[in-house]
């Protein structure tokens, strides 16, 4: 396995605005990597640098072993790129456009017909292949963009927000298509909505404010998160007369508890969420305290770690969240 995309200390200034701050990550051959971050985090900038549309202010990037600045044409030949909002020529017909792009990407003219047929089939465009692109719905336009990226069968696919603006069924379909592409291609796709990429991607690169906050496989990110699992309990103190504040105080004194949140859920029941300081399972200690006080307990569980949580924490700018995962 070798790195198909290598990004090293990539920095980009737009005038006085720092868009990308020493970003470093790599994508291995055959991986499907989700490039995740809020709007304006530097996703599109990074992708534009990788495709040679914009130069970096400093730092290096290599795609398929070629430097994006020095060997721009070789890099462009090995990339299928779908920019944000899928710009297309509205006055062209679908197959005409795909044949045109195939020609630009060095597909020999004898093979263009077959190539277009293949991507039309693959991206479910058969019913619209003779239609004008300008008359297509958003979902079809998106598929034309994807077909265009695939047309020369490039080793690397770079897709900027491939599912934005699609309805849930279309997102599902697109995800399936992307997963099926992962067998033959290396895919880097960006998004600002996590659940959309979580299904398709095996790896994530999370970026916020121009900095790479985390870059690893989905499983590894989840595992790293697991050491800080919150405990959720539902208990009733009616018989002992302790109020929510008292519960919070008592549970907060348990060794290893960093914070307690308590809320009433009706019927005298309280839901408390205890956040541990570090890598600790607080369930036993908490249950012991509850038993000691004579409170009734009806539920104890640990919150399953989700990537959403990490993502939300990073995006919210929680300082240590990124370090934990990185």
């Amino acid at each position: 396995m070798c790195a198909m995309i290598e990004v090293e200390n990539l920095t980009k200034w737009y005038g006085n605005t720092l868009a990308l701050d020493r970003a470093t990550f790599s994508v291995q051959e055959g991986q499907i990597v989700g490039f995740l971050g809020p709007n304006g985090a530097g996703k599109s900038t990074t992708l534009r640098i990788l495709t040679g549309f914009l130069p970096a202010t400093s730092g290096h990037a290599r795609v398929n072993g070629h430097d994006v600045l020095m060997e721009s044409l070789a890099v462009r030949s090995s990339i299928g790129y779908m920019p944000e909002n899928v710009p297309l020529y509205p006055e062209m017909r679908v197959e005409e456009y795909l044949a045109f792009r195939a020609g630009l990407k060095d597909v020999p003219s004898a093979k263009r017909r077959a190539t277009v047929d293949r991507v039309v089939e693959r991206c479910w465009l058969k019913t619209v292949r003779r239609r004008l692109i300008g008359q297509l719905s958003k979902g079809f336009r998106q598929r034309v963009g994807l077909a265009e990226a695939l047309v020369a069968d490039p080793p690397v696919l770079i897709l900027d927000e491939p599912t934005i603006g699609l309805d849930p069924t279309q997102i599902e379909e697109t995800n399936k298509l992307i997963v099926s592409l992962g067998k033959k291609h290396t895919v880097l796709l960006s998004s600002h909505i996590l659940p959309q990429v979580e299904k398709a991607c095996s790896h994530l690169v999370i970026i916020a404010d121009g900095q790479i906050k985390a870059a690893d496989s989905l499983d590894e990110l989840k595992r790293r998160l697991a050491h800080r699992q919150q405990v959720v309990m539902e208990l009733r103190t009616a018989d002992t007369g302790a109020g929510p504040a008292e519960v919070g105080r008592v549970l907060g004194q348990v060794t290893g508890a960093a914070g307690v949140r308590t809320e009433e859920v009706g019927g005298g029941w309280l839901r408390t969420i205890v956040t541990p300081v570090a890598d600790a399972d607080l369930r036993e200690a908490l249950c012991a305290v509850v038993a000691h006080r004579g409170w009734q307990l009806r539920e104890v569980r640990r919150l399953a770690p989700t990537i959403e949580e990490l993502y939300a924490r990073i995006v919210a700018g929680e300082a240590d969240a990124g370090k934990e995962a990185a």
Binding site: T51, G52, R101, L104, D106
Partner: protein, 243 residues
Amino acid sequence: MGKVLLLTRREISAYFVSPIAYVAMALFLVIAGVFFALADFRPGAPAAMRSIFDIMMFILIFVIPIVTMRSLSEEQRSGTIETLLTAPVTDIEVVVAKFLGSWIFYLAMLAPTLVYVVLLAVFGNPEYGPVASGYLGLALLGALYVSVGLFASSLTQNQVIAAVTGFGILILLAMLGPWIATVVPSRVWIIGVRTLVQQATVRTHYLDFSQGVVDLVHVIYFVALTAYALFLTVKVLESRRWR
């Protein structure tokens, strides 16, 4: 070269499905037709096209920027410039193809005016030499105007601004020489500047063609200035890399 042809073909077919191109073509043919009828196609007038060739220099100042205004500005507005320039083609190939596409459309627009030659031949006995050199002049003039229009179109995302910028540059380029001759007093040190400006003016080099004179200096003027405008356009495209 194959890619330039491919891109050029796309440009041309984009023109023929665009309403603006037909509007520009109709406008051009109506105005040219009126001037031909008033200036050259009169009883008693010599069977020649001198007047219409000379007037074309002005008509085209307003027609060609309308033809070229979309060329690069629309790509920038719609974002297709990104797919275009991240395909394995060089900026030079893109600009040359854009130029060829617009210029070939311009030549197609010019083709119906050959009817004037037929009319002259039917009703008179024209000399074909000056007609041929006149058309050569028009082809060269068009190449220059198209390249300037293309340059204007590379500067902005807005088609209207592209067209107006094109008008502006072309008016200066075509008319500055005669204007400066009337305004600037002929002091010795300034005569050099005046000559320079006059030599840089389209008018100085264009009028000979309609009189049947094909001077190599004039041909070189048009070819060189066209190449220079295209070079500037390539530089504008490249400027995204350091802006």
